[in-house]
Amino acid sequence: MSATLPSSLATNPRLSQWLGFSADGTVVIRPGKVEIGQGILTALTQIAADELDVALPRIRVETVTTPTSPDEGVTSGSLSVQNSGVALRHVCAEARSIFLGVAAQGSGVPVEALRVEDGDFVGPQGAIASYWSLAERGLLDGDATPGSRAKPPSARVTVGTSTARIDLPDKVFGRPRFLHDMRPVGLLHARVLRPPSRGATLRAIAPGALPEGATLVRDGSFLAVVAKAEHVADRALVRLARLAEWDERDTLPHEGAMPAWLRQAVGESSVVAERDAGGATATRRIRRDFFRPLVAHASIGPSCAMALWTGDTVEVWSHTQGPYNLRLDLAKSLRISNESVVVRHVEGAGCYGHNGADDVALDAALAARAMPGRTVRVLWSRADELGWSPFSSAMLVEVEAGLDDAGNIAEFRLDVTSNGHSSRPGRGALPTLLAASTLDPPFAVPVAINMPVKGGGGAQRNAVPIYRIPTLRVGMRTITDMPIRTSAMRGLGAPINVWAIEAVVDELAALAGQDPLAFRLRHLDDARAAAVLQRAADMAGWSQREAGEGSGTGLAVARYKNLGAWCAVAAEVAVEAEVRVTRIWIAADLGEVVNPDGAANQLEGSAIHATSQALKEAVRFDRRRVTSDSWESYPILRFSEVPKVEVALMDRPEMPPLGAGEPAFAPTVAAIANAIHAALGVRPRAMPFTAANLAAAMDQG
């Protein structure tokens, strides 16, 4: 028995905060994690059903509302099942034990003689009580206690099966489900006029009328229009854009010179990992650079929020990943107390990390402040979403590695240079929300940070190779000048780090005259990493693969964050005018899998997302503004370009569950890069892997 509580329970120990029963025969669970398209509501329902012994349809999930829901921080990092699932399992198991104990005491039937049948407590003489008959007794008013009472894996019934997603019917029948669909009585619609360029300040608003019924809201350089009808707000925004006069200046680096900018910009250096276990000296060395540009989350649904002021308090509806963190930054930005803000989570479109979800919540609160007593909804435009959301930082990775005389990796040095990978709200003295820096008086923009490596890291995520390497040094330089706001996106630093490591390992294998699979397996002490790698290679028919003539297959493996799930990917490419990824094979070890189809859905989805980023994506900008603010200028993978994907999950029901949303992302990028080399003989050096970037890599040699 473990002597400590799961981390989410340690901070939110009250059982009734997580779980409730009603006399009408229903169960409510209240996780602190939110649905972002990853299927967490379904997985948590399965866990609760098994531990409570109730049928799935009895369970309803209540989404997060401050301050009553458990505070589980941010729904990110592939931690929803790992944190919330483990906490809920503990809560439900303890609740079952408490209820059975009370039923036993009340009836005289020994607890060992009781079993639970869909919520009824059944003894030798039949049902004696139920969760429902004891629902009003306040049995969950105490705190969770350490020690697991959860069922053994073999006794789980629903967990481990592919239960259908509980949120999908609404989405397939077009029923209201998203925040975007909420229409409270008397709702007003607002649009925000973003500045024409980064750092622009409002000089004046020329005289001129807005369309009838539209109201202007101004605070410093923050401008919004509010109207009863959405199409009137849209027209008013167009009008306001013509009237607003701005002072602008160049604030951005040259897009074409970003690797040089990263090398020269002011930053803080740190050592991520260092060891010197002696051993043979490298006698053959290679040195390689890798670059990834800024990339965007590019949600299909633009960010949306609603706000309602009542006196000095504000209620905000948001599809944020971190309702409690958002609440802290809303309070700071609005210069009111934290207790004056209520944040209610409602689902939005998939976010893939820290996109505009939090920013639009402040926009709504600011617009609604001018309309007390009325609910005001702000919807971002496509240009806002692609042009003003936080981006994942441009990154540079430099590797120097060497083989000893026996063909073993003797040395490996990796240096990663990047802006921070978190501007998430609620973590610093200053608010990180977009509009905060435009208010009067403005807040300074806090520079994005890289989380410590024990929490998975930011830029340095997956920068430490998982291979046996005697002499290793991994360094990070976090740029402290942030001309374009950066924050968390699926994988954080992992995609470029895994790509760099796996490309260099492929080259070292070639230098040693060995097959890339055999070379990797020879350097892997981690049996679970070796197992997924072998599995992916088998799925892809690695030993019989054909290469050359413009097609090829590549392999890559990583353990997400070096402490999460193990995942190996094989990718097959066909190169014509541009690179096309034709097939992807994924093998993943996620530990216990609550919902295999849900996990497969996450893995294959993230591999397609990664393919899009690897082949096509780059945020474009001039010296003043982000110019890739449409789907035309920020293209993503389309139906005609999507590879076929096969997924295999290792069977590990007895191991702790690990998240599925991100582990396939980085190995997919790396496997594609290695496949390109197999097909063309050229090693990609810059993302995206376009014909132009590959031609440059060829020139570089």
């Binding site: 029948f173 209201p176 959405e230 299909i300 649904g301």
Partner: protein
């Protein structure tokens, strides 16, 4: 006042004729299926059927549908009486966040109406105007092919 047929019933919306159809459907007609994604006919989230053709509605003025037949995802079927595509999308668990699905479903319905037995290439082509960021594409393709199979005579 613009009269048209909306999901099988007569509809009349008292709005200026230049209001985009999407805004009219969501605000005045109270529908939630057609979704705003880009506002420039570039992502597919707002598609509906007009006289059986799948078209974007974020730019198209309301005046353009006077007298025509408009079907949104809500008009394809309901949970009690689902369209074969809706059944197939649930069977394949074809979606993650689901924001793109309304538009994809109506384009798939238009495809199957015109070509009851499409191959995979035809499905990809029909769905090319639609963006999905979650990477549910392969499940979506499988679901459309499944619906087509189940629509075939035994």
């Amino acid at each position: 006042m613009f009269a048209f047929t909306l999901n099988g019933a007569a509809a009349a919306l008292d709005l200026p004729d230049d209001v985009p159809l999407l805004a009219a459907l969501r605000e005045a007609a109270g529908l939630s299926g057609p979704r705003f994604g880009c506002g420039v006919e570039a992502c597919g989230a707002c598609h509906v059927l007009i006289d059986g053709q799948s078209v974007p509605t974020c730019v198209l003025p309301l005046g353009a549908v006077a007298g025509r037949v408009v079907t949104t995802v809500e008009g394809l079927g309901t949970e009690a009486s689902p369209h074969p595509l809706q059944t197939a999308f649930l069977a394949e668990q074809a979606g993650q966040c689901g924001y793109c699905l309304s538009g994809i479903l109506v384009s798939a319905a238009a495809l199957l109406a015109a070509n009851p037995d499409p191959d995979e290439a035809a499905v990809r082509l029909a769905l090319e105007p639609h963006l999905c960021r979650c990477g549910s594409h392969n499940r979506i393709i499988r679901a459309v092919l499944r619906a087509a199979r189940q629509g075939q005579p035994a």
